[in-house]
């Protein structure tokens, strides 16, 4: 592999990540080495990473995990009794009572699969969920790439295609490239708060035919980065569309715990599917994804996620399980997942604190989203539709192209790291920025101040 020519052509074909991450890392290093900059540190709100912005983790979660890591803490009376009980229970399902043992069933610890299944059943008002349909791994991208690898085949015209929303989660386009799958874009309707439009789906599918073999449709609900929450009617339409066209539904539902819009409610694709006629509920293949990187948990660094597989051919499902056999998922995130889906109940010592913390996160998010949205709309040349869920704001820049080039300076001049819309797949002339608004209010103030200062300077440079 002495030269680029020898590198796997498929790897060469993966679109490179934007240089922003490298730039941010370089600036952070320079600051650590004492370089003087107009700002003390880089604020990175390009990813959905609340902890890095200063949001506190959930106490119950961290307490239980601490005890699991260092069981001597079981003797510590100052830790609530339900924390110690839960830790003991979880340690009991680890080999040798230690989370250092391999998780031998490659799809996850059975107790955790069970808890996830119970959570799903509760959430969906009783629709059955089988533990053996739950597969746990270290992060959504990992689980999704397993599924994509399974479906990926062919090249050029016969290459597997996935209908992908524009905009989509910023890590998705690279992932599709890596799995050798063609991204077939379908535009979300910006003027309708980024709603999904069936006609657009059909158009996208039509244009794909002959260019690749579309096999799946990727949905992000609540939308990442749009914050749009799909209503039941839309979900039903998408399901019917998938059924008619023989597409597998890949439903990423990580931000289901972050709906704050008035009169908006998260409904899972599974619930809607099971309320439809048998010809859909028993045949449409659906894989739904959730993770501990959700808004309330924010445990992005711990890396844990699950997928639930519905209506997949048992032989195909077996392959999927076998594929996980090369690498068992880490144990600690699985325990974290168990706590996420099975929080303290009313009456438990930790219940009140836990509920308060969750409530605090949700209100902070709602307030921040509203404030930031108003703020951005006040800036000339920027517009941002009101959001209803998720941790991002996705604002449009109505600026001429030369200004966009200058926008990259935001990181260097203000130490503010936002996400660029092109990472979310948008290749058209409608430039967007993406920012995570789940942060302590003081941090958000700082972010908005730096943004305004830069934006106004930018406008002044190009009168």
């Amino acid at each position: 592999m002495s030269s680029v020519q020898d590198v796997n052509p498929m790897v060469r074909g993966i679109r490179a990540p934007t240089s922003l991450q490298n730039l941010a890392a370089r600036i952070a290093k320079e600051i650590r080495q004492g370089a003087k900059k107009p700002f003390k540190k880089v604020i990175d709100i390009s990813a959905g990473d609340p902890h890095s912005a200063g949001m506190a983790p959930i106490s119950f979660v961290r307490q239980v995990l601490a005890v699991c890591l260092y069981p001597e803490l079981l003797k510590k009376q100052s830790l609530p009794s339900d924390v110690r009980r839960r830790a003991q229970k979880l340690l009991g399902v680890c080999g040798g009572g230690s989370l250092g043992s391999y998780s031998t069933t490659s799809c996850g610890i059975p107790r955790v699969q069970q808890s996830v299944a119970e959570f799903i059943m509760r959430r969906d008002g009783g629709v059955t969920s089988q533990p053996e349909n739950i597969s746990i791994s270290s992060g959504c991208q990992k689980t999704l790439s397993l599924v994509l690898h399974l479906m990926a085949s062919g090249e050029g015209e016969t290459q597997t295609g996935v209908l992908t929303p524009m905009p989509c989660p910023h890590t998705l386009p690279m992932l599709l490239d890596t799995c050798r799958v063609t991204l077939v874009p379908y535009q979300l309707m910006e003027d309708r708060g980024w709603a999904l439009d069936l006609d657009e789906l059909r158009r996208a599918l039509e244009t794909a035919k002959g260019r690749c073999k579309p096999r799946a449709i990727y949905i992000s609900n609540p939308g990442n980065p749009t914050g749009h929450v799909q209503d039941k009617k839309t979900i039903e339409e998408v399901i019917r569309f998938a059924a008619t066209e023989g597409l597998v539904l890949l439903a990423e539902e990580v931000y289901q715990d972050s709906v704050y819009g008035q009169d908006k409610e998260f409904i899972s694709y599974k619930k809607v599917l099971f309320e439809m006629e048998k010809k859909y509920s028993e045949t449409v293949e659906l894989i739904s994804f959730n993770s501990i990187s959700s808004a309330c948990m924010g445990e992005c660094g711990l890396r844990g996620a699950y997928m639930e597989v519905i209506n997949l051919d048992p032989a195909v499902h077996k392959y999927l399980r076998n594929m996980q056999a090369t690498s068992s998922p880490p144990v600690l995130p699985q325990l974290c997942l168990e706590i996420m889906v099975n929080p303290p109940s009313p009456g438990d010592p930790s219940y009140e604190t836990h509920t308060e913390e969750i409530h605090h996160i949700q209100t902070t998010l709602a307030k921040n989203a509203q404030r930031a949205c108003e703020f951005l709309n006040d800036l000339p040349g920027m517009s941002c539709p009101p959001t209803m869920a998720g941790v991002f704001l996705y604002a449009r820049l109505h600026l001429p192209p030369q200004m966009i080039e200058e926008a990259k300076r935001l990181l260097e001049e203000e130490g503010l790291f936002l996400g660029a819309g092109c990472e979310n797949g948008q290749e058209d002339q409608n430039y967007h920025i993406r920012m995570c608004v789940l942060a302590p209010p003081a941090t958000l103030d700082e972010v908005l101040a730096r943004l305004r200062s830069f934006h106004l300077r930018l406008l002044n440079r190009f009168p």
Partner: protein, 476 residues
């Protein structure tokens, strides 16, 4: 995707280790839980290199620091030693927002990577190690797969091939096949303690010509499951071989801390390469892998390791970055554990005495286990065990009587799997058959981990002796 035909053909080609024994163990455990009467009270599971599962305790210092990182309120109490709290504070300072729940840079936390390079330099007597060549990963399997994926070319006329040892841990084989590449086996020499012989490498490479395009050589040292520790001479021969044949050297060195043989010493491929000087030292492309799972830490469940890439073209490294970027970052707690493994307490630190004691205990347990296994297994007729110089496993040769082989065929099992299934059922000992890791045609082996508590090993050996004697009698 409801039709099997639509599954990627690479997936279909992957051979999976038999789940038969795992299912059987599950069933037996369930029966025991439900009160069934058996000649044993619990199953001893030594099928994987999983020390904690088999009773080895985690290191206190490691767990204390990680607990404080996960729940920083513990830093306020005096319950934890002062150096634990200092270390935790330092590590949390390296995490964005002071939380282990934040994403890190793709390759890992910058300060941890820098310290990894310092460790490597110290270990190799000063040979430079550059942080930009190091990537932290969620386990060595992941790093091997991602590194190897860089070299695979599924568009060429011939499949990409990798020279792989026999025996070799099955998940490496699976990873290679899953990527669409071909395994080109080279046989380790059992009679010489599973030594790697360069003539065999030549033979294997020759045999692959015309069948696949061999681009790499995979070596594990100390050997898994062979337990062999390579000599400097052997490693130099390997370096010359890969250099002559322009192969990429994938050196899996996860067991570098586990060397027991009195005359054995772990040498890293990087240090050997550097000693050999130019042209080898600046042209041979090398990837070396390490992990937290396999040393005395035994933290298999934390899933963390790193890969250091040496002598890769800078333009190729750009693609490495892209390839590794697709997976966000490695789990943070694992990254911190890696730091703790490579930079443990030093003499003078409050935690040092306990740490030293725990490490010594684990080490002497393992040395003792290796000795006991050799004594007991070699005394049983029908077994022949090569000396275990390092690693986590023992891989004794099993000479099965013809009647046993016949019976195995009748029930549709590999003969060594059949032996293991019987052992599991009748004696409650869960080991793995040699066929999973590969062996010469017509030979049979068993594999089990030597990383267990002492009394677990004694119990295991006693049950094995009993069972084996009876088995050989039954099938004589």
């Amino acid at each position: 995707m409801s039709v099997l035909q639509e599954i990627s053909s690479n997936m279909k080609n992957v051979k999976h280790p038999s789940a038969v024994l795992a299912r059987q163990a599950s069933r037996i455990n369930k029966e025991l839980r439900e009160g069934a009467r058996k000649p044993y009270q619990e199953v001893i599971d030594v099928s994987l290199g999983d020390p904690h599962r088999a009773g080895v305790k985690p290191l206190s210092y490691v767990r204390q620091v990680l607990a404080a990182c996960i729940y920083p309120q513990l830093l306020d109490s005096t319950g934890l030693p002062v150096d634990v709290r200092q270390r935790a504070r330092k590590l949390l300072g390296d995490c964005a927002g002071g939380s282990v729940g934040s994403y890190t840079e793709t390759a890992g936390i910058a300060q941890v990577i820098r310290r990894i390079s310092e460790f490597i330099m110290r270990r190799d007597g000063g040979v430079p190690s550059y942080p930009e060549n190091i990537y932290i990963s969620p386990g060595s399997r992941w790093s091997v797969m991602n590194t190897f994926n860089m070299m695979v070319n599924n568009k060429g006329p011939l499949r990409t091939g990798v020279l792989t040892p026999v025996p070799c841990q099955s998940c490496t084989i699976m990873s290679i096949t899953m990527l669409g590449a071909a395994v080109v086996p080279y046989y380790l020499n059992e009679e010489q303690g599973w030594e790697l012989q360069v003539e065999e490498l030549h033979r294997a490479l020759e045999s692959s010509k015309g069948m696949c395009n061999t681009v790499a050589l995979y070596v594990n040292n100390p050997g898994n499951p062979s337990g062999h520790v390579q000599s400097r001479k052997s490693m130099q021969q390997v370096v010359r071989f890969v250099s002559e044949n322009r192969l990429f050297l994938l050196a899996d060195e996860v067991y570098q801390d586990c060397v027991y043989g009195e005359k054995s010493e772990f040498l890293s491929y990087k240090s050997v390469l550097s000693e050999m000087g130019p042209p080898f030292s600046d042209t041979v492309e090398l990837a070396s892998f390490h992990s937290v799972a396999q040393g005395f830490m035994g933290e298999c469940g934390l899933r963390s390791g790193y890969v250091e890439l040496v002598n890769l073209d800078p333009t190729v490294m750009k693609h490495v970055y892209t390839q590794f970027s697709k997976d966000s970052c490695s789990p943070v707690l694992g990254q911190l554990a890696l730091d703790l493994m490579l930079h443990p307490p030093q003499p003078g630190d409050p935690s040092y005495p306990l740490y030293k004691e725990e490490i010594q205990n684990i080490r002497s347990t393992l040395v003792r286990n290796v000795k006991r296994v050799a004594e007991v297994v070699n005394s049983l007729p029908g077994f022949c065990c090569q000396p275990v110089e390092g690693g986590a496993f023992v891989f004794p040769r099993l000479y099965l009587p013809p009647k046993a082989i016949q019976k195995a065929e009748e029930v549709g099992m590999q003969p060594d799997t059949f032996y293991c299934a019987r052992l599991l059922e009748e004696a409650g000992v869960f080991i793995s058959p040699g066929c999973e890791d590969g062996q010469k045609e017509g030979t049979h082996h068993i594999r089990f981990s030597i990383m267990t508590a002492e009394k677990t090993m004694e119990e295991l050996l006693s049950r094995l002796t009993c069972f084996h004697t009876q088995f050989m009698k039954d099938f004589s």
